[in-house]
């Protein structure tokens, strides 16, 4: 069964901490995505990557960075977590133009 796995289902971090959200896919997909999901706002694209070490900003990249050192792994980094980054984070991968396959989501709370 093909999978996108996010390292944590729930995470609680303190304001100012550096936070790493990890995502691994086993489908050899070229593209990987990080979305943020908030009630009433749907899914908003933070960053995406189309190859190892290649990335592009999405619609809301401020306060985030990403890393893709290996094809199967895409990390989202919150350099200095803030309370307004409390949200659900969803990772997806795809082999265009096929549909995206999603991970189970990480609910991050910043206190």
């Amino acid at each position: 069964d093909v999978k996108v796995t996010q390292s944590s289902r729930y995470l609680v971090k303190r304001t100012g901490e550096k936070v790493f959200l990890e995502c691994v896919q086993d489908m050899d997909h070229e593209n990987m995505f990080w979305y943020r999901q908030d009630p009433g706002l749907g899914l908003r694209l933070i960053y995406f990557s189309y190859d190892v070490k290649m990335k592009e900003k999405g619609d809301i990249p401020e306060g985030y960075s990403v890393s893709r050192e290996k094809k199967e792994r895409f990390s989202l980094i919150l350099e200095s977590a803030s309370t307004n980054q409390t949200s659900m984070y969803l990772c997806a991968s795809s082999s265009p133009p096929r549909q995206g396959v999603f991970g189970q989501g990480t609910r991050l709370t910043v206190v």
Partner: protein, 118 residues
Amino acid sequence: AQTVTQSQPEMSVQEAETVTLSCTYDTSESNYYLFWYKQPPSRQMILVIRQEAYKQQNATENRFSVNFQKAAKSFSLKISDSQLGDTAMYFCAFMKPVTTSGTYKYIFGTGTRLKVLA
């Protein structure tokens, strides 16, 4: 700007009835792909149905079908014989090419929360 609009934040339907969820999108592209995803309380996003813009025929997957109106930029999802397990958040999504990288990205609507009543 490319946008996806879902104008119904919440809907409910009786079990075994039919319900239609609406979605409109805005694009200047001629070649693109549209999707409906389901997100149950487990949070796992599941693909429901996919439509290629160049295909005139509406996609169908068992009880799920779409009404794709390209000129009107409308992509509604019809669920027939609704079941309790259809209770979920439904997202419409649009996949568009990214010219700078030759790849694609997905743009999502704000979602419609559907509740199937027993």
